[in-house]
Subunit: 233 residues, 2 copies
Amino acid sequence: MLQKYTHDTRILLAIDCIIFGFDGEELKLLLIKRNFDPEKGKWSLMGGFLNETEDLEEGAKRVLNELTGLENVYMEQLQAFGEITRDPVERTVSVCFFALINIHAHDSELSRSMNGYWFNFKDKPDLIFDHNKMVNMALSQLRYKAALHPLGFELLPEKFTIPQLQKLYEAIYDMHLDRRNFSRKIISTGLLIDTGEKNENSATKKAMLYQLDAEKYKNNFNDFHNFISDFKW
Amino acid sequence: MLQKYTHDTRILLAIDCIIFGFDGEELKLLLIKRNFDPEKGKWSLMGGFLNETEDLEEGAKRVLNELTGLENVYMEQLQAFGEITRDPVERTVSVCFFALINIHAHDSELSRSMNGYWFNFKDKPDLIFDHNKMVNMALSQLRYKAALHPLGFELLPEKFTIPQLQKLYEAIYDMHLDRRNFSRKIISTGLLIDTGEKNENSATKKAMLYQLDAEKYKNNFNDFHNFISDFKW
DNA sequence: GCAAAAGTGTTACCTCTACACCCATGT
DNA sequence: ACATGGGTGTAGAGGTAACACTTTTGC
């Protein structure tokens, strides 16, 4: 390797993860109680520092795994946050990722690590530093993307019913959707495969279980849809 | 300030700017010939390093200003790029911004600094490091946002005609748009104010000059539109 | 049998697209 | 007058929203 650059400001790079979950009813946010100063005891996003030997995505996955045991989770970079005084200890730039996970499918990993606590998104506490801002931006981004791309599936079990999917979208946008129109929109994407099975959990009529057409999902992920047409941004 | 964190990886933070311009006909990209090693003499994005005393947005504005003389330009963070080997000199994480500027309105600043060269986007040369990837992502992001929000105005003079705006959109998406439908879509946003003036440059019928309703633009920027409905993403 | 949840069909409305015509200007 | 570019109108297609009815299941 050549000689290093002469510029002398080298900065601590944090990684923070906004982890969204869904339990079938409510949109959730995974938070952790900070166990070191400053702000010890306050709620915080899952975070860590970037190492020399990993790139940003690897770092984000590592941080997530170390704190929750989770693996193979949908993650996407939000953006970098760099206010000078965002961390009182020292100048730190944080690169934020948001992750989508299906809570029930990952119960075991999560309970094993016991580091985090799932808040209903609506009841989330005040967070340290600029984490509130990060979370708000992540929600905007989630809403933005999920309205246009078939992102929501990441928060559901492998096999799911259309009413479950609708509940998820209603939780994300905090609004009511018409059952019949929603169903038609989703079916018309062609992304769902009828498994032939029925949901045994339902107390009344059992709903059909679908699963993603993985191939189509990958290839058509960037197609535009309009799942949520009258949402007020 | 408290004691610093014990984590010991502190990283050089680069800032790179993807600068889009429009000259009335073609979408342009402002590049610079790198005048230091490595890759001296090759084309590169406008870039620099983050200083201790500035946050990311300030840094991006400073870098842009130092290299081009430009001020008061629309800028938005794209994302951070952190591949370990992205810069052969040393580990560097780059936070990317993209900027939109109206070339003619900034002729004087730009010619004074003479650091950059405007390429037609389609003819852009191969760039150093991961800058090609950054540019491609920035174009995607520009297309994405400009299809849904009234972003394009940033690339035009203060007073502009609807045909000019259409040419801009055609350049961004590299496709032909229907004159009449485009005009109706734009007018229906209610963002344009008829100045009563006419474009004197036109060789034939002079087109009406509009300007942005600044108040509405600010307040309704996040409203959803659908300026480009049949673009293949 | 009844309540609750799930599946499906229909209609009115609205938006978008594709197209044709007219107007203003310079040569 | 004619070529070129700009402004506007309209009919048909397609998509969306609002609505009602039927089916399945547990009690």
